[in-house]
Amino acid sequence: MSKNTVNSDFSTREKSQGKAQEKPLINEFVVRFANTNGTGSASANNMFAKAILRMGIPVSAKNIFPSNIQGMPTWYEVRISEKNYLGRRGGKSEMIVAMNAQSIDDDINSVKSGGYLLYDSSRALLDSQIRTGINYLGIPISNICLKEYSDPRQRQLFKNVIYVGALAALLSMDFTLLKGLVRDQFKGKEKLVTPNIYALELGYQYANEHFICPLAIKVESRDLVNNRILVDGNTGTGLGAVFGGATVVGWYPITPSTSVIEKFASYCNRLRIDPASGKKNYAIVQVEDELAAIGVAIGAGWNGARAFTATSGPGVSLMTEFLGLAYFTEIPFVLVNVQRSGPSTGMPTRTQQSDILACAYASHGDTKQVLLFPDSPSECFELGSQAFDIADQLQTPVIIMSDLDLGMNDHLTKEFTWQDDKAYQKGKVLSAEQLDEVEVFGRYLDVDDDGICYRTLPGTHPDKGAYFNRGTSRNHFAGYTEKSADYVDNMDRLTKKFINAINFLPEPEIKQQKVTAQLGLIFFGTTSHPIAEAVEQLKEQGLMVDSLRIKAFPFHQNIEPFIEEHSVNNRQVFVIEQNRDAQMKSLLVNELQIDPNKLASILNFDGLPVTSHFIVQAVLAQLSANQENKKTG
């Protein structure tokens, strides 16, 4: 076997130190794991990220996986940043753990000069795979496993744990803490603790014995995490729905939204069993397709239960007809759209923010839908529960616009919070008693002049309040009509309600310099992750930035002034989004009647989360183009 190991030149202490960066890089680098999917690497990689977290160092993790079940390349990128820069950094990484023979050539090229390649030296690298300027850390992982384990599944699984152990030594991680993590992770499956720790130690020892540890990149404990947690957005959304009181779910599996429902289901299973009877205080039904999924949510919403469904791209398209019905019949429910790269099946395991127009104007005819744009798992939780209040109060669907990056990747995020004294806002639903007091009940009477009418639930009152809910035009009393005046009246009221919706929606998050800055950045959802870093980098270029994060559609009245202020006096507004067609910009222009030329677009739509680098380059390019124009124009 030793014949297969790579020339040890590349894995000696000397080498690995010789080429390392001059000054040690502490708590500010990226480790990339290249694996094969279906080999159990995800949990080991996750363990690595969590160990960093427990050392008090800010960390983020991106799982870049194929639309496939087994055998294809998959990457996991851990960014460690005590500066709290947690967007995807992009570019080459300081270290790569290259466990996949299929992708190793590319992986070798994606190491920064002076960086490290940890690889399985059980098989020799090819000459062509030897790149000068990077450090090769060969560990004969397969051979170790072959010797240590007889069960092929274990041989496979523990490979991953071994390299985590090695990293602990190489990066100077807290090994005791790492072992504690294993114990926590396998709580309930204690039998697995010892072998996992053993595997960690195998790697740890090997590295200590063969390399000078730590390397020139390493971690040091800090206290920078505070009460933040490391969790994915879909968990936040699913848990938010539990706290928000959702009881009815119709759904159909689709990546990357599936885990919203899975998380909802598993928390319900823990937290929503009636203590007296042992029965479920919820009903989840995996239906035949997305048309049925949204139909279930609408039927339940009509009947007064809090209901939701979750889907992605193709599912959203299939839900279009029902979204129009719900808009027009004014039925509350929540739709979680975890966006992925379109169009069509597109890149189903890549991220994007490209369903904005499809959702905002979903369905034929004049329709507008309420959208929420969470940017973090904790906001997924927050808006994921609030969405039910909003839907009930506005009597309309609320669409939570998440995306694959937010939904499926682990992010460092504020801990989830809940006010126990905050009562659910059920909106204008008349009880039997209230109905008794009402002189005339008209389902579509705009009694309060806010566009929101009173509704009744089936079964409420023996004589009053029943009406026939329909997708056809109707008068104030829900009676069928083809009268133009009735139709127009109703449509105008819906517009009024939509404008009024702003009062129920979260305000944008605006960060202003003392003096209005030269640059105004507008963004939303995961586009906000690299902003802090980009702002810093722009500052280094002498450019001050004000920023506005959109949290909801229809747009809050603060947005237009922000744009106006930042598009005069040589200032420039950028709208940053992750789609090709500048969909959010379109929505801003349409709905706020803004001159599109006031908004420059920064569009990243390659399926990977946008980086600060991309943003900064785009800003600089646009600014110099502006200069150019001024000269020539």
Binding site: G245, A293, G295, A305, P458
Partner: protein, 350 residues
């Protein structure tokens, strides 16, 4: 269809156990064509609900799109109704039922609505054992869009425009039987004597109840040569058994004399009393029912009546083990785990 409905109420209109008259179960004035089968169906539903003394507001009416799906507007004014989108009523009914299992779900659909665009949803709501009454007004055509052939039209017939039905028909009763529905029947809107007891039994049945009701479209499918015209159906209808519905008057179910082989005791204690007209008839054998339906069809007959009944079937909520308090009535306390639980959850992400 008449436009001026007399407001005159006979002072001695018969009242039911709730003190309600037939009028209390009526709906808006029908705007269907005069003579449309769906109007008879409407009045059979009204009669069944009135005679059973169901509280009108404890019913939820759900439908898709079509002349048939408009019909719920014409009965039970005091019940909420939901006229949804074409072919997707079953999913809306599912959501509604999941939210509140205490209402009685009366669903109305057409053969276009259920056998074409809605066939997938139809099959899956059967599978799901939803506790509902699913009625299809089967006229062999798309009435509301002016007479195109439906998938239930017999092969070889022509519609009024002269288009030929080229392919095998889909028999929704056969499909419901095959997919495991626990109550399956066929009837004719023109035969209230048969239809009303079937509707009553379907409403008393717990679980998924399906009734296919041949309901002629006088405007587009009542011509000679049609196999869904009044004349044709009158001439070719047959049944395997006459069923009578005996409501339970007391809450006790012991009165249910199940020893009598011709009586089927329903979930609520009411009885379906069956008089066989055909030796092979067996309301507990779905396969036999399919064979009977197909044999009659080959012989040019339309078999009607109760085909299959599984009185002890369970419904979705039993299978799901849902709390018996309707989900839409649960308080925030029952739903929201609260802050203390949340902080434990937060810890799991550290």
């Amino acid at each position: 269809m008449s436009f001026i409905k007399s407001k005159f109420q006979h002072p001695r209109l018969p009242v039911n156990d709730l003190g309600l008259t037939y009028r209390d179960y009526e709906g808006a004035l029908s705007t269907l064509c005069a003579g449309c089968g769906h109007d008879s169906l409407t009045s059979a539903i009204i009669q069944a609900c009135h005679e059973l003394s169901i509280q009108p507001h404890k019913i939820a009416k759900i439908s898709g799109i079509g002349c048939s799906s408009k019909a719920p507007n014409y009965f039970l004014n005091k019940a909420h109704g939901f006229n949804s989108v074409h072919g997707r009523m079953p999913s809306v009914a599912t959501g509604a039922n999941l939210a509140n299992q205490d209402l009685l779900y009366l669903a109305m659909s057409g053969d276009g609505d259920s056998a074409s665009i809605g066939f997938g949803q139809f099959a899956h709501v059967v599978r799901r054992q939803l506790n509902m009454v699913y009625m299809v007004a089967n006229n062999g055509v798309y009435g509301l869009t002016k007479g195109q052939l439906a998938a239930t039209a017999d092969k070889g017939v022509k519609n009024k425009a002269g288009d030929l039905s080229l392919f095998n028909d889909i028999d929704l009763c056969v499909m419901a039987l095959q997919l495991g529905a626990s109550f399956v029947a066929r009837s004719f809107s023109g035969d209230k004597q048969q239809l009303v007891p079937l509707i009553k039994a379907a409403m008393s049945h717990k679980g998924f109840a399906f009734i296919d009701i041949i309901s002629p479209c006088v405007t587009f499918n009542n011509h000679a040569g049609s196999t869904r015209s009044y004349d044709y159906v009158h001439d070719h209808i047959t049944t395997g058994a006459v069923a009578d519905f005996v409501p339970v008057k007391t809450e006790i179910t012991s009165s249910c004399h199940s020893g009598d082989s011709e009586d089927i005791c329903l979930h609520d204690g009411s009885i379906m009393r069956i008089q066989k007209l055909n030796e092979e008839y067996d309301s507990t054998n779905a396969s036999q029912a399919i064979i009977d339906i197909e044999r009659n069809k080959k012989a040019g007959k339309i078999l009607t009546g109760l085909f299959y009944l599984e009185p002890t079937a369970s419904d979705f909520h039993e299978v799901n083990n849902t709390n018996s308090t309707p989900l839409n009535k649960l308080s925030q306390d029952a739903l929201c785990p609260g802050n203390r639980v949340l902080s434990g959850i937060n810890d799991s992400f550290r």
